[in-house]
């Protein structure tokens, strides 16, 4: 056979192998052009190799989630010059396991790659299911292990691993009898051995690690062909159960002996319990009545409390109002004090004015007195002058009379002729004297007239001064009277305002007292409120206590009933026991 023919034969045979592969095999060049696809692959794509080869790119065929990404197994293989695998999802939701292998040309250069695609969708699903089942096993609160025929641990759930104080990873691969070290291990009693041998589940009780009582159940594991491949062992910790059972057995014995006594006693217990129950019922009733009464009292005290509280509120409000009123009154008081001050000052001013007026009056009085004196003096002078004037008149008259006498004497002398001539000379001299006296008197009268007139003027002047003084006096008197009236009015106002001040202060004091009383009332009512609240609280407590008593009584009743039931049960049990054991 020629060499090419041999090669051709070999190639054809390989191709046949490839055609027989139950998976898609695709060959591509460096540009991802499909250069070959086997029948399975074409069928998987619902096409034929002739329609695909050299007509499409591989990523247009499979359209996986890895195509045209760094995860593409062929790309990785061509890059790394060694086989690469990756899991991908096709566009029709198939799980594909893709393995790429680089191909070389004659010179040893990368020419492309061969890709082997396997549909692992169902596998994946099964795997998921297994995982779930494993999780169920994981959730079982008792040790579960799977072993192969050689008793190597293939699986142990986390509860089992925890019980053994280890982890599943460390335990897998070890021999089960090395791990559990039960009394049955490596004996014919091993449930797994029995199960594998008999192909049926088997159960046995044994001790584990010499401290734990366990109940082991073994089930055989078969492969697809029904051949035994191992076993699953299910282990239950029955240590407590065992202990209980043992104590139960002890109890049963004791109970049996006690049962007789109990049966006898239970009658008495029953009676006692019934009487206790009756008492409890009575107590319950009594406490209910008490409770009712207490509730009434509580309601009453609540009312009192409410009333006291409202009273307290009212009192507080009243206190507030009183406070407000007091504030206002204090303001009024302040104002009154202010008014008093002003009035006091005005009064002082008025008094000063009055005093000034009085002094002015005094001065005027002095002036008046002085002018009066002047007037008097002038009057006196005038009177004296008048007297003098009178004297002068008299002198004048006398002079006139003397003149007249002298005249008549002259006439007589003239009539006497020569005889009377000497006499006539005398008469003439007398007449001249009289004339001089008369002139002097006249002059003095004139002077006196002047003096008198001057005196009169002085008098009238002093009179007018006097008048002025009197008028001034009157004016000043009026002013003084006015200012005195003002002062007295001020005094009155002062009295009134002082009264007002006193009244306001008294009312403030009174209000303070009222406020104090109201505060007392408030505090009393608060106390009353709190007292009645306390009363209410204590009554509540009392009631609660009573209710508790009632409840307790009811409980006692219940308990008694239970006791009775129990006693009856026990009596029945005792009877059964007795019947059993006898």
């Amino acid at each position: 056979m020629p060499k090419y023919k041999m090669l051709n034969t070999t190639a054809t045979r390989y191709l046949q192998y490839l055609q027989g592969v139950q998976g898609a095999v695709v060959a591509i060049n460096k540009d991802f052009d499909v250069t070959y696809i086997n029948e399975y692959g074409a069928k998987m794509l619902k096409s034929t190799p002739g329609k695909i080869i050299r007509k499409t790119k591989c990523y247009d065929l499979f359209k996986t989630s890895n195509c045209k990404t760094a995860k593409c197994a062929c790309a990785i293989a061509m890059k790394n010059k060694k086989s690469a695998s990756s899991e991908a999802m096709s566009d029709n939701q198939m799980n594909l396991w893709m393995t790429g292998t680089p191909t070389y040309d004659n010179e040893g250069k990368i020419s492309g790659a061969i890709e082997y695609v396997v549909d692992i969708t169902s596998l994946k699903r099964e795997s998921e299911q297994n995982k779930q089942q494993m999780q169920y096993l994981e959730g079982v609160q008792t040790p579960v292990i799977a072993i192969d025929e050689e008793f190597n641990i293939k699986y142990i759930n986390s509860f089992g691993a925890t019980i053994l104080g280890s982890t599943a990873d460390k335990l897998v691969g070890k021999k089960c009898h090395d791990v559990f070290k039960t009394g049955d291990c490596k004996t014919s009693k091993c449930v797994c051995a029995i199960a594998m041998k008999s192909k049926k589940p088997a159960t046995s009780e044994t001790s584990c690690n010499e401290t734990m009582q366990i109940k082991c159940t073994g089930s055989p594991l078969f492969d697809d062909k029904g051949k035994i491949v191992g076993a699953v062992e299910y282990i239950a910790d029955i240590t407590e159960l065992k202990g209980m059972l043992e104590s139960t057995q002890g109890l049963v014995e004791v109970s049996t002996s006690v049962a007789n006594n109990i049966e006898g006693l239970s009658g008495e217990v029953l009676k006692t319990a019934e009487s206790i129950g009756a008492m409890g019922a009575q107590s319950s009733q009594a406490s209910e009545r008490l409770s009712n009464t207490m509730e009434q009292v509580m309601a009453a005290s609540q009312n009192v409390s409410d009333g006291a509280q409202s009273l307290s509120k009212l009192a507080q409000e009243t206190a507030k109002n009183v406070q407000l009123l007091m504030d206002k009154m204090t303001n009024v008081n302040t104002n009154t004090v202010e008014v008093n001050k002003i009035v006091n000052e005005s009064n002082k001013v008025a008094q000063v004015a009055s005093e000034s007026g009085k002094e002015a009056l005094k001065s005027l009085g002095a002036i008046k007195d002085a002018s009066n004196d002047v007037g008097k003096t002038i009057g006196e002078v005038n009177a004296s002058v008048k007297d003098v004037a009178g004297l002068a008149d008299d002198i004048s008259q006398i002079a006139g009379q003397i003149n007249m006498l002298a005249l008549n004497a002259a006439i007589e002398a003239a009539r006497a002729g020569e005889a009377g001539r000497g006499f006539a000379v005398v008469a003439d001299a007398v007449k001249q004297l009289a004339g001089q006296a008369g002139t002097a008197a006249k002059t003095s009268v004139e002077s006196i007239d002047t003096i008198t007139k001057a005196g009169e003027r002085a008098g009238s002047m002093s009179k007018s001064a006097d008048q002025a003084a009197i008028e001034g006096n009157v004016n000043v008197n009026e002013a003084v009277n006015g200012s005195q009236q003002v002062a007295s009015s001020m005094q009155k106002i002062l009295g009134v305002t002082q009264n007002l001040e006193t009244a306001v202060q008294e009312s403030v004091r009174y209000l303070e007292e009222v406020g104090g009383v109201i505060e007392q009332v408030a505090s009393f009512s608060e106390e009353s409120a709190s007292a009645s609240e306390q009363t209410a609280a204590s009554i509540e407590e009392q009631t609660a206590a009573t209710e508790e008593v009632a409840v307790a009584a009811t409980k006692v009743q219940e308990e008694v009933r239970k006791v009775i039931e129990l006693a009856q049960k026990i009596a029945a049990e005792a009877k059964t026991f007795r019947d059993m054991w006898q």
């Binding site: 007249m404 005249l407 008549n408 002259a410 006439i411 002398a413 003239a414 009539r415 006539a424 007449k431």
Partner: protein, 166 residues
Amino acid sequence: MTVTGDVQIVNFTVGDVDYGVPVEQVREVRDFQAVTPVPGAPSYVEGVTNLRGQIITVMDLRKRLNIEEGEGAGEKIIVIEMGKAAVGVMVDTVTEVSTIAEADIERHIQVSKKLENYVVGVAKQGEKLIVVMDLTKIISDNDEDLPEHGRLSSKKPHVIEQMPSA
């Protein structure tokens, strides 16, 4: 009566005029004293008065001579002797008794016809001119006017119509 030689007169005034009366006719000079009016007497008769037991008639010269000029109160009474009777003549003032030389008297002075009988003359005395009156005539000239005559004159009294010039 006839006066010769030096004449002594009593000087008096009525109003603004200086008069004189010869001292022989004058009994005395008195201040005016209260008079009792006489019913039915002439208007220039003031009344009667008691002069030291003698009842005399008092007449107002101003009214008698019908002098209206000047002022005067008629405060003095010159008692003129008329035999045993006397008449009081009311004048304003009596100043003095003086002597006038005969040469200083002008006796022939033409005055009103009525006053011819009463005026003796006009005398010079210094700067003054003095009408020298004969008061006895002024009383007796109109007897009927005097109360003692019991008749009243309806005639107007004579008045110096013009003062005689010197």
